[in-house]
């Protein structure tokens, strides 16, 4: 039998890899993919909990996470396109419209 903690540790490690990707990459698309990776790691832990607690709630939540992730991908990519049209770069360290 596989203990629950293994799944959660896996989830934590994958999430941290996503975080590192988010912090280190310059390419906006790659940063976006890192975010998707983090969402997936959370899904792993939710499904694991659902299985071990014998509850359906986790699986339902994963379904909603996927739905929201799809919406987020659509909107996020649209924003990238809109930004790129105006300002042909997707290097994230050159995007600083909010600088004080």
């Amino acid at each position: 039998m596989v203990p629950l903690s293994w799944y959660i540790i896996l989830s934590a490690v994958v999430f941290s890899i996503g975080v590192v990707g988010f912090f280190t990459r310059r390419n906006l698309i790659m940063i976006f993919m890192s975010v998707e990776l983090m969402l997936n790691s959370v899904n792993i832990s939710l499904v694991a909990y659902s299985h071990y607690l014998q509850s359906m709630r986790g699986q339902v939540l994963v379904f909603f996470v996927i739905a929201v992730a799809a919406a987020e991908a659509a909107i996020g990519l649209a924003i990238i396109i809109a930004y790129y049209k105006n300002n042909p770069t997707i290097k994230v360290d050159e995007i600083n419209l909010l600088k004080g």
């Binding site: 996503g18 280190t24 792993i44 607690l53 991908a73």
Partner: protein, 171 residues
């Protein structure tokens, strides 16, 4: 180690490895393709956890829809020039260090996690007798009907928003 543990070890190792490979690709197209492999492995893990509906969704929605959308966008942006410049940010070491500390802390916290009763009524036998999809369908269309409908609204808004944003000509 028992057979299930070997099975888990394979998937966990592949998932970790593929994640690292994915985030280190210079070319986003390669990243997307590695991610596809990664998602297939995650779907395999879901099957292992008796969530065959989610495994299917993972392939259909993530691999089939979202990743294809990524590919389209990458092609639209025409990023040849990006491939020649530095791929990491200036202070990437700090980011990586913070990520590593974060990983260490979270792993330290969750390492000892166990299951505490009471358990729910959806045991493996209960799900098998009714069928996994029917079980999740019943829950989703009864108890979570309202969130389900709201999710459809969120998607609708996303569609409209994406069209509006991508069509708008700024400046």
């Amino acid at each position: 180690m028992t057979a299930p543990q070997w099975f888990f070890a394979y998937f966990a190792g592949m998932i970790t490895l593929l994640s690292v490979v994915m985030i280190t690709r210079r070319n986003p197209v390669h990243g997307v393709l590695w991610m596809l492999v990664l998602f297939v492995h995650i779907a395999g893990l879901y099957l292992f956890l008796n969530a065959e509906f989610l495994a299917a969704i993972q392939i259909i929605v993530y691999a089939g829809a979202i990743l294809v959308l990524f590919l389209f966008v990458i092609m639209l942006l025409n990023l040849k020039k990006e491939l020649t410049v530095r791929k990491v940010q200036q202070h990437w070491v700090i980011g990586a260090a913070v990520g590593a500390i974060f990983a260490a802390l979270v792993v330290a916290v969750v390492a000892g996690i166990t299951v505490l009763p009471p358990l729910g009524k959806y045991s493996i036998e209960a799900i098998r007798s009714e069928g996994g999809i029917m079980t999740i369908g019943k829950v989703m269309y009864t108890k979570y009907l309202l969130p389900f409908e709201i999710a459809s609204l969120v998607l609708l808004v996303a569609i409209v928003g994406a069209v509006v944003l991508a069509k708008k000509r700024i400046g």
